[in-house]
């Protein structure tokens, strides 16, 4: 509250210097972790980022569905693309299209975009979260780590039907050879 008089640019005390040094060191640790994870870690957000017109993305998604569709559930096509392929997931008010059926341990390139508003991709129960922005294609190489009947929750507000926007994603373990999809006609 008081005005310092004269020169206040004085050397700091020992404890203060010690703490500033330690805090700075900790900041360097924080800094190092991110590049390090790019080299050693298996979860990154880089992906392939590009612009896409909503109409073009919708067209690509429809072609993708026609190519690999195996059934329908709740009026949404169920699609089983081969491992290694590009897969498309389109967000719109208020659904995720299509329902993807993927194999555990195989790698896919997952393309995410929206044809209307911002949406949020939240994979349940793995808790992987990505922002889905119209006009942009976010393509991420993913490897499903466990089999199961999963859900995609929208976690970005997208209007009055936001809370009902939920999608489905199926991961099967091919090595077990037992999982068949009830709704599909193979």
């Amino acid at each position: 509250m008081d005005s310092p008089q004269g020169v206040w640019w004085k050397p700091a005390g020992r404890a203060e210097k010690l703490w500033v040094g330690i805090a700075f060191g900790w900041c360097l640790v924080l800094f190092a972790m991110m590049p390090l994870w790019h080299l050693k870690g298996k979860q990154n957000t880089t992906g392939i980022r590009s612009r896409v017109e909503p109409a073009a993305f919708q067209k690509r998604t429809i072609e993708f569905i026609q190519q690999y569709q195996i059934g329908n559930e709740q009026g949404i096509p169920v699609v089983e693309p081969p491992p290694g392929s590009d897969v498309y997931l389109l967000a719109r008010m208020w659904s995720w299209v299509p329902i993807l059926k993927l194999q555990k341990g195989a790698q896919y390139t997952l393309h995410l975009s929206s044809i209307d508003l911002n949406h949020g991709f939240n994979l349940h129960p793995m808790n992987i979260n990505l922002q889905v922005v119209p006009d942009y294609d976010y393509a991420l190489r993913i490897v499903p780590g466990e089999a199961g009947d999963l859900r995609i929750v929208c976690n970005e507000f997208c209007g009055i039907g936001h809370h009902a926007m939920i999608g489905k994603l199926i991961v099967v373990d091919e090595s077990e050879q037992t999982v068949t999809y009830g709704g599909g006609e193979r």
Binding site: M1, W8, W9, E16, V20, H38, N44, Q131, V133, R151
Partner: protein, 511 residues
């Protein structure tokens, strides 16, 4: 316009009548928006607590928008305008330059805020605080925000003018006090922030009229230059108030002006780029951009906060020890005036801001970790700890000094005022920790129904989530009770309080 000076009997500041009046007006406006935002908060909380689930979806999203705007923009910025008039003209014993402009800005801000409130309450702006394009609100919403920002920017300009006037008229000697220095950093950050606000809300306003296109990704980038940087104004103002409350309540010393002031400068230099952490899982920026902005830049601002987190308690410790409170390692803390709501607010604000808000914020703002945090309840858990448990609580503590020093009233319901920081801090601590923990299960933020009762596919969260959300709700209700106590005390003191006269009180021999 009447312009006189009085000398404050406690601080010996020469207080300009216009500074008094402008602080009062802005503080009252802040409290009104706190009440509006608080009611919305309670309704939102009681809806997310699925056991009660009080609102329908339309009103839930509307109330959430009202809660965000009323609290994060209107309440906080009106209060910060009061802080600027205090840290500038009052602390420097100077006059308010051009008080008419101060009143004009106040009116512009009120008009802007009312336009936004009108748009929200009439369902013309169910777009959330972030209003991501292409989600569209009525044009009056964007215009209201622009007016409010212009008014706030003018007050910031008046603050700079007050510094120049005080220097020229020699109302103080030496350098400006640290509290003013901190407010100055907040003001500089405000200029940058409101610049981003103009850069995004003006195009968006034209877009809402159908006159131009706004790119959704560009909107997110520039919006967060406003949306997050605005929180750094709070940060600067809050840390300045920490130093002030330390000095007023226990005579805390400033260990080293160089260190504390350099830390404030780090905020100005780096905090703006830290807004990049909102785009860590966006489909636009590459890893180099993300790492640069959120580490090189952000961590130097984090460093600044860690420095203040040391210098303020250390200043209290040294102040106490020099006055003879030297018992043991923590005697200075045990023997502190815990019955003074200014002091208890200060300590709880530092603890909640640092331990809950700070740690979670830095962790979630890490490029890859954001994958398991983005848009889950972990995010509001983090920023309620910083903005509510930290900033709002510090503002509350400062209010208990503002009422006698500026409003010149005694604090009403004094027994209530003394326990208010304890109730509020405890509630917020439970609320924020539970909310953050619920987000660890992937529970989304801004969501009306996490039981998904009307959805095409079922989804069941782990039973633990119900429990954690229940704890969150109870914490939130306790915090709301603390908030109501604060509003009761301040409103009653200001409008019906007994006048404060230091001599009489000392003569009466009461505390």
């Amino acid at each position: 316009m009447s312009e006189t000076f009085r000398t404050c009997p406690v601080t010996r500041f020469k207080v300009h009548s216009q500074a008094d009046a402008l602080i009062k007006a802005n503080a009252v406006a802040a409290t009104i928006f706190l009440i509006v935002g608080g009611i919305a908060a309670l309704l939102v909380l009681l809806t997310r607590w699925q056991v009660v689930h009080i609102l329908d979806p339309a009103w839930f999203y509307r109330m959430l928008t009202i809660h965000g705007m009323s609290m994060l923009i209107f309440f906080i910025l009106f209060f910060e305008m009061a802080v600027l008039y205090f840290a500038g003209p009052v602390v420097l014993s100077s006059r308010v330059p051009a008080p008419r402009i101060g009143w004009l800005s106040f009116v512009v801000m009120v008009v802007g805020a009312l336009m936004v409130e009108w748009a929200m309450w009439t369902g013309r702006a169910d777009v959330m605080f972030s209003s991501y394009v292409p989600l569209k609100a009525h044009w009056s919403y964007y215009l209201g925000v622009i007016l409010f920002a212009v008014g706030a920017l003018t007050v910031v300009g008046l603050f700079f003018a007050a510094l120049v006037v005080a220097k020229r008229e020699r109302t103080y000697e030496g350098s400006v006090p640290l509290v003013t220095f901190g407010a100055l950093t907040a003001a500089i950050i405000a200029v940058v922030t409101l610049g981003h606000g103009a850069a995004i809300y003006i195009p968006t306003f034209f877009w809402s009229l159908g006159l131009m296109h706004v790119d959704p990704a560009v909107y997110r980038l520039v919006f967060w230059g406003l949306g997050h940087s605005a929180q750094q104004i709070n940060l600067g103002a809050m840390v300045a108030l920490w130093y002030m409350l330390g000095a007023l309540t226990v005579g805390a010393v400033v260990l080293n002006e160089k260190i504390s002031r350099s830390a404030f400068v780090l905020y100005i230099l780096f905090i703006n780029m830290a807004a990049a952490h909102h785009l860590l899982v966006d489909p636009v920026a590459g890893p180099a951009w993300k790492v640069w902005n959120t580490s090189y830049a952000m961590y130097l601002a984090v460093l600044a906060s860690m420095v203040h987190g040391f210098t303020i308690p250390a200043g209290i410790e040294v102040g106490q020890r020099l006055r003879g409170v030297t018992q043991g390692m923590f005697g200075w803390l045990r023997k502190a005036p815990w019955g003074d709501p200014g002091f208890s607010s200060l300590i709880f604000s530092i603890v909640i801001f640092g331990f809950v808000g700070g740690i979670t914020g830095v962790t979630f703002g890490t490029e890859q970790i954001n994958l398991i945090a983005h848009n889950t309840l972990r995010i509001p858990g983090h920023f309620h700890a910083t903005v509510v448990g930290g900033t709002a609580l510090a503002f509350m503590g400062a209010t208990y000094y503002l009422i006698p020093l500026i409003f010149r009233k005694q604090v009403a319901f004094w027994s209530l005022a003394k326990i208010q920081p304890y109730v509020f801090a405890f509630g917020m601590l439970v609320f924020t920790m539970a909310m953050t923990f619920a987000g660890t299960f992937g529970v989304p933020r801004r969501h009306w129904d996490i039981t998904f009762s009307n959805s095409s596919f079922d989804l069941q969260y782990s039973p633990a989530v119900d429990l954690v959300i229940g704890v969150m709700a109870i914490g939130g209700l306790i915090a709301a009770l603390g908030g109501m106590m604060y509003i009761l005390v301040t409103v009653w003191s200001v409008f019906f309080g007994r006048p404060f006269d230091l001599e009489t009180i000392r003569a009466e021999g009461r505390t």
